[in-house]
């Protein structure tokens, strides 16, 4: 750095020295190390993409996920073709075999042209302003197209998968945040103070860990008063899953705190006259932050799997709410496997998102300690 901006950065740092928050370098080191891990970096981009899809679900989905239409029941996915630069899909007509009643689709040569920023169904963007603008869709507003095929009621699977992401991914996130807060609070207290509190909290952790997860979810989820509307059920299921999830994190945090308590620079901070809160938040937590973040990213996938399992058992979210678990529950039929396999696409999405988060979390954990060799 040239001389004068070195001075200038010195001023900047000193100015907010009072706050003492500015420790960019730790993150810069971690970020540099993380970027070297190509797979983890790509996974991070994918995860970010998934959450963008979850947030802008209405805008991204070409059709409303809930409008049934009898003419397009169990329509197989349409392949996208390009006529010059104009993308289009071929229309299908539904004929039903009189004996077996199986829907058979005959490809016609009529084309449905698609375009970006097409007009579609009305919705409130981010709950603020009314619009009917969608990322892409058929040119004429009434037309239909099914890139991911359609389900039993003729609803567009692509839109349903996109809306499903909203519930499943957000449930994963909120659940993890809940269990992180619990994990840090309890793990921290038992790690920092030790003695009786530590003993009690560890016994509680052991008790919860020894309860077999799925049966307990079963019991808790079935204990839900089921006349609640879907979003209330959604929040309570998230709470249930995180009730069990925090124990692993609590153990990681406790271990870190115990190790940290003996560190020389922590003793030095105490001797510098720092209050207990300052010792924890200014000296101990920053060096643990990287490990906590890594543990959190690895916890989200298990939350997503938990949601799908609960929905499969018919306990988590119920139709008419839409989540990947609910979509998979509907697909869980032999009749679907044999003649509507595209209904398993939500399963593929679950696998992709869980994989991406695992690799992302793994990369974070390796990069977590920039000072380790």
């Amino acid at each position: 750095m040239s001389e004068e901006n070195k001075q200038e950065t010195a001023q900047v740092n000193m100015a907010n020295l009072r706050g003492g928050i500015e420790y960019a370098s730790q993150w810069q080191l971690m970020w540099a190390r993380f970027r070297k891990h190509r797979v983890a970096y790509a996974s991070m981009v994918l995860v970010a993409l998934l959450y963008v899809v979850a947030i802008f679900a209405e805008f991204l989905s070409p059709f409303s996920p809930e409008d049934p239409s009898s003419r397009t029941v169990y329509q197989p996915p349409q392949v996208l073709h390009f006529d010059g630069f104009k993308p289009y899909v071929n229309k299908f007509t539904l004929t039903r075999d009189p004996v077996t009643l199986a829907p058979t689709y005959v490809k016609t040569d009529e084309k449905t042209y698609l375009e970006f920023f097409a007009k579609g169904y009305e919705y409130k963007m981010l709950g603020i302003w009314e619009t009917n603008l969608h990322l892409f869709g058929p040119k004429e507003q009434g037309e239909k197209m099914f890139l991911f095929g359609s389900d039993k009621l003729g609803r567009d699977m692509l839109s349903r998968v996109i809306f499903g992401a909203r519930f499943t991914l957000s449930m994963g996130l909120i659940g993890v945040i809940l269990s992180t807060v619990l994990g840090i609070a309890l793990g921290g207290v038992s790690g920092y103070y030790g003695g009786k509190i530590d003993w009690a909290i560890q016994r509680l952790v052991e008790f919860i860990l020894s309860l077999p997860t799925i049966p307990i979810w079963l019991a808790l989820a079935s204990a839900l008063p089921r006349n609640w509307p879907p979003h209330l059920v959604y929040i309570s299921v998230t709470v249930i899953i995180s009730l069990i999830g925090w124990t692993h994190l609590a153990r990681v945090i406790r271990g870190k705190f115990l190790a940290m308590r003996g560190e020389v620079f922590v003793i030095a901070a105490k001797l510098d006259g720092c209050s207990e809160a300052r010792v924890i938040f200014r000296h101990m937590l920053p060096s643990m932050a990287s490990h906590v973040i890594a543990a959190v990213t690895l916890a989200i996938p298990s939350m997503i799997l938990a949601e799908t399992t609960l929905s499969f058992l018919g306990l988590g979210l119920q139709p008419p709410a839409i989540s990947w678990g609910v979509l998979l529950k509907d697909a869980q039929k032999i009749s679907v496997i044999s003649n509507a396999p595209w209904l398993f696409l939500p399963g593929v999405m679950v696998v992709i998102s869980v994989l991406a988060m695992n690799f992302f979390g793994d990369g974070l954990r390796d990069a977590a300690d920039p000072y380790s060799h």
Binding site: L211, A219, A223, G347
Partner: protein
Amino acid sequence: MLNYIFKRMLSAIPFMFMVSLTVFILIQLPPGDFVDSYAAAAASSGETISPEKMADLRHQFGLDRHILIQYFYWIGGIVTGNFGYSFEWQSPVKDLVGERIGLTLILSVAAMLFTWALALPIGVYSAVKRYSIGDYFFTFVGFIGLAVPNFLLALVMMFIASKYYNQDVTGLFSPEFQSADWSLARVYDLMHHLWIPMIIMGAASSAGLIRILRANLIDQLYMPYVVTARSKGLSEVKLLIKYPVRIALNPFVSSIGWILPNLVSGAVIISIVLNLPTVGPMLYQSLMSQDIYLSGTILLVVCLLTVVGTLLSDILLVILDPRIRLEQ
């Protein structure tokens, strides 16, 4: 060692008591009781049950008494070996659970052995050959095992097995062996049916185990005692097996503590889909229909399995690692 085990057993008693209380209350939480769900189930298949018959049934099952009285009746019974009556089957819970626990254990242990057989070699390989193509490949496969929801995997595998290999998928035994007593042919038939559930249950937990073994082994590979061993003239392979792998095995062994409960509870889902006669489907049904004594007993047994599992892994750890045994 013995008094340690005895002490652990003693501390397990209050623990199990607390578990049984929690479990019992959990089961009673949903609105309505067994008779309601029985009436609902009957009604949904067209048969209707009059209100006074329902009151009759409630009296019969003793459901009109206060929760705590029911609990102490149950716990009192357990102490004397009577686990109570299942409402639905009208037969003692002990017999119902007795037969199925055996198969659950067989399935879980088989899945655990499969997990270890898979995780040990892969874990060692990907640690020694860090960041090689093999390492990335196995990590990827491991994560796939972790990522695919097991009920989906179960259904698809079952469909393929029955459609293309016309494998009988209606249970752990083909019909003629179902109630036959144990014979070699029956064991072979069991093996023939066991491989699908074993793979599914093993896939997820082996991924976790590979990650742990790989991380521990990497730490041990560059320890000074490895350099000492090399300076003594030991060959790389002998050196690898005797020192780093041996020490990295300790957490691997202590994984029994958390693998057993996961497998048992994981088995619930897979048994439902694959229709295996384990405690899984019975637990799910009894929870749904609030057959309290039956589901309470199963949950209690599963928790007992967990406690035993953790104790087993602690003991194994002590045997394997002298540092814990002798040093404070």
